[in-house]
Amino acid sequence: MIIRVLGEGQYDVSDGALASLNELDAAVEAAVDSGDDAAFATALTALLDGVRTLGVPRDAESLDESDLILPPADASVEDVRELLDDDGLIPG
């Protein structure tokens, strides 16, 4: 499984590690839904740390698409909402 952290690059993460990452992801999602910036920052940091710890940085030359994509480390709730908005941050 390839996970991209925006602004950081891609990581290879084993399927076994995914369960614990999904838990961390759920916390991030809950914080986005409730609009709680402080909880979001904590949850996102935990999730990204999890990806960095459990994953292995993927070769920079690789041209493979990621399976999952995560917001950049300095993102705010607002940034994530824009990411999820089809007309949002991602340049078309």
């Binding site: 991209r4 041209l63 990621s66």
Partner: protein, 261 residues
């Protein structure tokens, strides 16, 4: 659906929309490669722009710190001649500068962070563009137009995602740099107008320095007067107590002429 999944789906649909379908799919490769080179050039410019802003902030911090040191010196000098009011004024101005300096240093750290991020993004994109170029040549040499589509899609999706990511990084860096440039411009204007560079100047002249200079020339006069008293006949000084005005006026003139060269 998980957040990670939602973001990746949106990202992918964007990247796919950006793909131009040429009549010969192999032409798509060349077109995409050109866009990659354009983006790479844009990231390089972005890195240079952020570096320029960072250096500008560095220069401003140096200027303000120089001014702060000057005010500290003035405060010490003022206190040494017993002018607590002047010392207080100098220190008040110095503390005004301190918050500006703290603010600028925080901006500097942010710009440095953006610069590092963009530099890394540039390296990652560079590696992928290079890899794409090799893949592109292989596909064009090995596959017929009909066969090429799958291979092209594979190469394009990976690079498309990277380009989307880098595009966002540039956008964020540009936004931050633009905000800071507006503030840096305001500080440059303040420095240019003399309000910060010569923060001790009020009404066109440096009041603290002027007062301190006046005080130190008075102190010089007093010192010389004391020296004269000590060396000359005691009775002459004693008799001069009545005509003190004349004696005081004399050394002031000599003090002015001393300052001229």
């Amino acid at each position: 659906m998980s957040l990670m999944k939602r973001i990746s789906l949106i990202f992918r649909s964007k990247a796919n929309k950006a793909l131009d379908k040429a009549e010969d799919p192999r032409e798509t490769l060349d077109y995409s490669y050109q866009r990659q080179l354009d983006l790479l050039a844009k990231v390089r410019r972005g890195v240079a722009d952020v570096a320029t802003s960072r250096k500008r902030v560095e220069l401003q911090v140096n200027q303000l710190e120089g001014q702060s040191t000057k005010l500290q010196g003035q405060a010490e000098k003022a206190l040494s001649v017993g002018r607590e009011d002047l010392a207080r004024e100098a220190l008040t101005r110095k503390s005004g500068l301190a918050s500006q300096i703290t603010d600028l240093k925080a901006q500097h750290a942010q710009l440095q962070g953006e610069e590092e991020k963009l530099t890394l993004a540039q390296q990652r994109l560079q590696a992928k563009v290079e890899s794409f170029r090799t893949r592109k040549e292989t596909i064009k040499a090995t596959y017929t137009a009909a066969e090429a589509q799958t291979k092209i899609n594979e190469a394009m999706s990976g690079i498309g995602e990277e380009m989307g990511d880098v595009g966002m990084a540039i956008q964020r860096a540009e936004d931050k740099t633009a905000q800071m440039q507006a503030r840096a411009g305001a500080i440059d204007e303040l420095i240019a107008s003399g309000a910060l560079e010569d923060v001790s100047q009020v009404g066109g002249s440096d009041d603290i320095t002027r007062e301190l200079d006046a005080m130190s020339s008075e102190a010089d006069v007093e010192a010389e007067l004391a020296a004269l008293r000590a060396s000359s006949q005691p009775q002459a000084i004693e008799s001069a107590e009545d005509g003190g005005d004349i004696l005081e006026a004399e050394p002031e003139k000599s003090a002015e002429s001393r300052q001229e060269p």
